[in-house]
């Protein structure tokens, strides 16, 4: 076909192999969960650190980002 010689304006991009993604996904996923836990839930129902310092420090962000706060 003559059309086959015409380059596509937008070809399907080459995807990144899953094998290459997994280590990053596991590491960044775990790290993100820890960070989001401290912003969104620490010293609410569960507390890894005693007191209410973390809760009070991120208090406004927690309310405005929509997390259940207190």
């Amino acid at each position: 076909m003559a059309q086959a010689a015409v380059p596509h304006s937008q070809p399907v991009p080459v995807s990144i192999p899953v094998r290459e993604l997994i280590p990053w996904a596991v590491f960044a996923g775990v790290l993100a969960i820890v960070l989001l836990y401290f912003v969104g839930a620490e010293q609410g129902v569960t507390a890894l650190i005693s007191g209410n310092g973390v809760h009070e420090f991120v208090h406004d962000g927690r309310h405005l980002l929509g997390f259940p706060c207190h």
């Binding site: 990053w24 996923g29 209410n52 310092g53 420090f57 406004d60 309310h63």
Partner: protein, 246 residues
């Protein structure tokens, strides 16, 4: 490649967080401050506050505290966003990097922020029974997880239906299936109403609108800032080598 995308995702998340912070500061903080004044006027809560002293002043909470919370949230979601993008790019058909990023941001906003907000909207201080915090936390995070899982199922469904019904119809069917499933999930989850009888309706509405606007700003920022950054990484790898001069 993945490393470059991850770095750019966290960067896009940080910049988006700055934009969201400005929005939250301008529209959210005044309402939050008003709610705290009302909360302080409430006798029952005043006694509770006296038992547990505040470790940070309002000035710290509304500036450094808010910035830290939104900034950490932005970097974290930006990183995860980049990895979801790295998986999705090239697996959603012939979408450009910018279009892929915008689409993921829209999907993430709907599943992570909008769906949970519609069932369990953000509450200003003074709204919500402190005794129900356990239940509220569990159902909130359950809805976030459920909504993301249902979106993943809908994407899989779209992939299966596309050869038979065509891309457009398959997308419509998958979106419809997601909406039905999410609606059923929301109906099954318990109703939680912790708004005190005399809490001002306008204040509640404005606070919730500000909260939703903060999320919209954040996700729109991540999607639109990450797209061009990712495109630069991807084209530098896949672009055909320039013709050498003879």
């Amino acid at each position: 490649m993945v490393r470059n995308l991850l770095v750019r995702g966290m960067l896009a998340g940080l910049v988006a967080a700055v934009l969201a912070l400005v929005f939250a500061w301008v529209f959210g903080e005044p309402e939050l401050g008003r709610a705290i004044v009302l909360e302080g006027a409430h006798v029952g809560h005043a006694a509770e506050e006296a038992a547990e002293p505040e470790p940070f002043s309002r000035a710290v909470q509304s500036t450094v505290g808010l910035a830290t919370a939104v900034g950490v949230y932005g970097v974290a979601i930006g990183g995860v966003f980049a990895l979801v993008f790295a998986f999705a790019y090239g697996r959603l058909g012939a979408l450009s990097a910018r279009a892929t990023a915008a689409l993921i941001a829209l999907g993430a906003f709907v599943t992570v922020a909008l769906v949970p907000f519609l069932k369990y909207p953000a509450n200003p201080p003074g709204v919500g029974d402190p005794d129900s915090i356990r239940e509220r936390t569990v159902v909130y995070f359950a809805l976030v997880a459920g909504s993301v899982a249902l979106a993943a199922v809908a994407l899989y469904l779209r992939r299966r239906l596309a050869p038979r019904y065509g891309g457009w119809n398959a997308t419509l069917l998958a979106v419809a299936a997601f909406l039905v499933a999410v609606t059923v999930a929301c109906l099954l989850l318990p109703v939680i109403d912790g708004v005190p009888a005399h809490f001002p309706a306008v204040l509640l509405w404005r606070f919730r609108l500000a909260s939703l606007g903060t999320q919209v700003t954040l996700w729109a920022g991540v999607g639109l800032i990450f797209g061009p950054l990712a495109e630069r990484v991807l084209t530098s790898r896949y672009a055909p080598a320039p013709a050498l001069p003879a």
